[in-house]
C-alpha cells in the first residue's frame, strides 16, 4: 500500500516529539498529572501511527512483544520488594522517615515499568490487528 507523501513526512517529524512527551509524562508521573498508563498510551500512539503509515520503519515488533512478558515479571518483583521490609504487597519498601528524594525512586521505577507494559501491550494488540489478513 502506497501512502501519500504528506502523511509520511508529517509522521516522521512528529515521531520523536511524541516519544519525548510520552517519556516526560511517565517520568514526571509522581509530580504532575499523568503517570504510567497515560504516558504509555501516548508512547503506544507514537509507535502505532508510524507503524501504520511506514511499516518498514518499525522492525522490532517481535522483540517488543517478547519484552512484554518479561516486564510483567519485573512488576511483580518490584511490587513484592515491600513484602520483605514491611510485610505487605505494593507499598514503598523504603522506611518512612527517609528523605523524599530517596523515597520517590520506588514511584518512578513502578511508573516506568507500568508505562512500558501499557505501551508494549497496546502495540502488541494493534499490530496484530493491523497485520490481520496480510500474508
Amino acid at each position: 500500500m502506497k501512502n501519500s507523501q504528506i502523511l509520511v513526512c508529517i509522521s516522521r517529524v512528529l515521531f520523536p516529539f511524541v516519544l519525548v512527551f510520552g517519556f516526560y509524562v511517565i517520568v514526571n508521573g509522581h509530580l504532575t498529572p499523568g503517570g504510567g498508563f497515560q504516558g504509555g498510551a501516548i508512547l503506544a500512539t507514537a509507535i502505532l501511527i508510524t507503524y501504520f503509515i511506514i511499516p518498514e520503519r518499525i522492525n522490532i515488533i517481535d522483540g517488543l512483544v517478547r519484552l512484554e512478558k518479561h516486564l510483567f515479571l519485573w512488576i511483580i518483583v518490584v511490587g513484592s520488594l515491600s513484602l520483605i521490609t514491611k510485610g505487605t504487597f505494593f507499598t514503598n519498601p523504603l522506611p518512612i522517615p527517609a528523605a523524599i528524594s530517596f523515597k520517590r525512586i520506588f514511584l518512578v521505577l513502578l511508573n516506568f515499568l507500568i508505562g512500558s507494559k501499557v505501551a508494549i501491550g497496546l502495540v502488541a494488540i494493534f499490530s496484530s490487528f493491523i497485520e490481520e489478513g496480510r500474508s
Binding site: P33, G34, Q38, A41, T45, F52, F126, E132, G133, R134
Partner: protein, 180 residues
C-alpha cells in the same frame, strides 16, 4: 467567572458535535468527529479540576479510538480472494476471471487482493472469516467454482453479475459455527 462561561460554551458545542456524530453516515467523518468530541471532553475535564482524567481521555479517546476506526475502515475496503488455480484465469492481468473480479471490485468501491497460497499461511487471529472468495476448478470440464459465504451480500451481487457466463459457477456455502 470567565471559566464558567467558557465551560458552558464548550458543553453546548459538545452537544452539537455529538448529535452530528450520531446523525452522520460517513465512516471517515465519524472517526474525525469522534476525535474532536473527545478533545472537547478532555477540555471540560480540565476545567472541572481533573487533569489526570483529561490526559487519559486525550491519549485514548482522541488518538487510539480513531486509529481503531481508521484501521477497520481500511480493512473493510479489501476483497480477499484465494485461488487454487494455477493457470491464467486470475493470475495474469488479462485473464477472464481477473477481469470479472476487478470490474466487480471497482464497481463496489473495494480493493481486490488475490493470494495464491493456502488459508493457513495468512497472518491473523480470525483467519477463517477474513476470506471472501475461494476459486477452484473441476478436473474434467472447464468450469471454475467460486465459493463464498451465503450470508454475504456481495456474493449475491457477484452471482447476478456472472449469470450469463458459462464457465463460472457460484457455490454459496452455509456459515459454519466455530467453537471459539
Amino acid at each position: 467567572m470567565e471559566t464558567v462561561v467558557l465551560a458552558n460554551f464548550i458543553q453546548v458545542l459538545l452537544i452539537i458535535i455529538t448529535i452530528a456524530l450520531v446523525a452522520n453516515k460517513n465512516n471517515t467523518v465519524v472517526a474525525i468527529l469522534f476525535s474532536v468530541s473527545s478533545l472537547f471532553l478532555a477540555l471540560l475535564y480540565f476545567f472541572n479540576k481533573a487533569p489526570d482524567v483529561a490526559l487519559a481521555e486525550i491519549a485514548v479517546g482522541s488518538a487510539i479510538m480513531p486509529l481503531i476506526l481508521i484501521i477497520s475502515i481500511s480493512k473493510q475496503r479489501e476483497y480477499v480472494v484465494i485461488t487454487h488455480v494455477k493457470d491464467d484465469f486470475v493470475n495474469s492481468l488479462t485473464g477472464e476471471g481477473r477481469k470479472v473480479l476487478q470490474d466487480f471490485a471497482d464497481s463496489n468501491n473495494l480493493e481486490l487482493k488475490i493470494y495464491d497460497r493456502d488459508i493457513d499461511n495468512i497472518k491473523g487471529i480470525f483467519r477463517e472469516r477474513n476470506v471472501d472468495l475461494i476459486i477452484d476448478r473441476s478436473d474434467d470440464n472447464k468450469i471454475y467454482y467460486l465459493r463464498g459465504k451465503k450470508s454475504s451480500l456481495l456474493i449475491s451481487k457477484l452471482e447476478n453479475k456472472v449469470k450469463n457466463l458459462e464457465n463460472i459457477k457460484i457455490i454459496k456455502e452455509e456459515e459454519v459455527e466455530t467453537n471459539d
